[in-house]
């Protein structure tokens, strides 16, 4: 006498049948997986580009080595704008817990090309006594080059754009002749690329007062909590924006997502997922319709709705897993192919982990229509 098969084993049997049926119909399998791959690539690619753009706008804050930023009131992004009073530096330096307080100048400049045209740059004046906010990602020369009179460091990706820049090239920047002392890689925010000069040289080029300060970058004494120093600075300079480095990073990301990037990238990512959902749902539903007699036969010989649910869900999970793996492989390859100084597609580990989960949910949702049809199926149809 046969015994009742435990539900888990019974589900395994049906899953095996489901996977076998799925693999037999190769054209449909490839088409459905392509739908999942499409969704993965579009969604992950769009998110990757968005993360890349966000990184372009937070990289200065992330790389400036400052624990605390003192910025003009109302500052939301790191960009040229208002200034802070020159006295801010002394106020900061005399605040308990402050280790270093260093001025930074940021302004819009122009570089004159040999053919007479001009290109914009984001001129950064760095305090070379601390190097807070100094050049990084150097690919040629050294940051100390800007210690030399009238010497600047430019972005290597703009060398051609600036008329074929090389080390020791001479260019006119905002009316001042400068030498090229080095190149950075990838320091291009939304606006023109960063170009670094010693802070007083930068003030000269910008035609600014000798005490102009756009930001003050602060480091705290070892062992002193940053938030404590932030509070102290706020108490002394209530009219200025005083924010820790990580909080400034978060504020920039939030601002960009709310006002610029969030909607467009959110929409394109959602479209990718919706299209994937529709493709998988239609494919699974048509698979059930095309194999209605087989499903009816399975019911007639004794399969329950639960059995057939296991069969269909096994297929949807397989579509999600295979589609995610192929999709993520393609995204990784595409990200490597696209990577340049201007655009880096960032696919963080959590995104790579999240994609299969999202696809799994998507494919399970896509199976609802197919499951509804299977569960409604009358086994008696096999006798008609």
């Amino acid at each position: 006498m046969n015994t009742e098969l435990p539900p888990a084993r019974r589900a395994m049997v049906m899953m095996r049948v489901g996977i076998t049926m799925m693999l037999k119909d190769r054209a449909r399998f490839v088409g459905t997986v392509a739908g999942v791959v499409f969704a993965v690539v579009l969604a992950a690619q769009q998110l990757g580009i968005m993360f890349g753009l966000l990184q372009k706008n937070t990289m200065f804050v992330d790389s400036a080595a400052a624990d605390i930023w003192i910025a003009p009131p109302g500052t939301e992004l790191f960009q040229p704008g208002q200034r802070v009073p020159a006295s801010t530096i002394d106020l900061a330096r005399t605040t308990p817990g402050v280790h270093l307080a260093s001025p930074l100048v940021v302004g819009g400049g122009t570089i004159k090309k040999p053919d007479g045209g001009n290109e914009g740059i984001t001129l950064i004046g760095t305090d070379t006594s601390t190097w807070l906010g100094g050049p990084w990602n150097m690919v040629a020369g050294a940051r100390e080059a800007i210690l030399q009179p009238d010497t600047m460091i430019f972005e290597t990706a703009d060398r051609e754009k600036f008329g074929g820049l090389n080390l020791e090239s001479i260019r006119e920047v905002s009316g001042h002749l400068v030498h090229v002392g080095g190149f950075t890689w990838g320091l291009i925010p939304f606006g023109p690329s960063y170009a670094f000069a010693e802070i007083d040289a930068a003030r000269d080029m910008l035609g600014a007062a000798s005490n102009r300060v756009d930001y003050v970058l602060v480091t705290v004494d070892p062992g002193v909590p940053t938030e404590e120093v932030v509070s102290r600075l706020k108490a002394r300079m209530p009219d200025l924006k005083i924010i820790s480095g990580p909080d400034f990073h978060t504020a920039i990301v939030t601002n960009l997502l709310k006002n610029q990037l969030g909607m467009s990238f959110g929409l394109s990512t959602s479209f990718g997922l919706i299209i994937g959902l529709v493709i998988v749902a239609l494919s699974m539903f048509s698979s059930v319709i095309d194999n209605l007699r087989e499903f009816g036969t399975l019911k007639a010989i004794g399969c329950t709705n639960r059995d057939l649910t296991a069969l269909v869900l096994a297929q949807s999970v397989a579509y999600a897993v295979v589609g995610s793996l192929v999709g993520l492989f393609l995204v990784t390859r595409m990200a490597a192919g696209i990577r340049s100084a201007r655009l880096v597609v960032i696919t963080p580990a959590w995104l790579t982990g999240l994609v299969p989960i999202v696809m799994l949910v998507l494919c399970l949702l896509a199976a609802i229509l197919a499951l509804y049809r299977v569960r409604k199926l009358e086994p008696g149809m096999v006798f008609r």
Binding site: N2, V13, V17, M21
Partner: protein, 238 residues
């Protein structure tokens, strides 16, 4: 009426006043109008009649894939018309083997997997189920075709696999719906001969719906159904 006195052993199937009405109101259609029928254990019974006579409806109710409107149908001691819907799949799985007009095999599964699936669902371990399937396929003359997909088999061979699927695990009853309809005369004859031999050997009760007169000679008894009622045997099928 073709009711015959049953002797000794309880009948495998007892049908009383079985009625099935499809739809309602003006469009109601009576497929079975109060059928009475007994089928003896180990009997090879053929249910014959013209299209629309109700024979497939009767088979569907006996196979627990269609509900009755009224009356009773006791199969192996259980009145299938009063069973809860959630009891029916297990009853079908354990007690009834099905042979359909088309072979109704799962196209993606090999012959042995089609047959073994029923056994696995019954709780037979995978390896044993495959062994049972291979033995059953050998019994229907398909040794060597265990790994063939249905698409690679002829119509007759597919129906043999379907017979193997219906008989594996020795269910007490086999219900066959026009098992030779899709086959040529030679294949049809061979298939029904095989079904008869195997079920006789195993003591299986068979109810076979057909209107193929070429296979009437294999029946132990023929029951004629017309307009939803069992008709007295006029001897035309003898």
């Amino acid at each position: 009426m073709t009711l015959e006195p049953m002797t000794g052993e309880a009948p495998a199937v007892t049908v009383r006043s079985l009625t099935k009405i499809f739809g309602g109101g003006a469009t109601a259609y009576t497929a079975l109008a109060g059928v009475d029928m007994d089928v003896r254990a180990r009997e090879f019974l053929m249910l014959v009649g013209p299209s629309g006579s109700g024979k497939t409806t009767l088979l569907s109710i006996l196979g627990c894939v269609l509900s009755a409107t009224a009356g009773s149908a006791v199969v192996l001691g259980r009145d299938v018309t009063t069973m809860r819907p959630d009891e029916l799949p297990a009853f079908r799985l354990q007690k009834i083997g099905f042979i359909f007009q088309g072979h109704n095999l799962i196209a993606a599964l090999k012959s042995r997997d089609n047959v073994a699936l029923v056994q696995e669902l019954r709780g037979v371990p995978h390896a044993q189920a495959l062994k049972d399937a291979d033995e059953m396929l050998a019994a229907v003359g398909l040794a060597g075709k265990e790994h063939s997909l249905p698409g690679d088999l002829s119509g007759g061979q597919k129906q043999r696999v379907a017979i193997a699927r219906a008989l594996v695990g020795a269910p007490p009853i086999v219900l066959a719906d026009e098992p030779t309809a899709a086959l040529d005369a030679h294949s049809g004859h061979a298939v029904i001969e095989l079904l008869k031999a195997l079920t006789q050997e195993r003591g299986t009760t068979v109810i076979c719906v057909t209107h193929d007169p070429r296979i009437f000679s294999f029946a132990d008894r023929i029951v004629n159904i017309e307009d939803g009622l069992i008709r007295p045997d006029d001897g035309s099928h003898s």
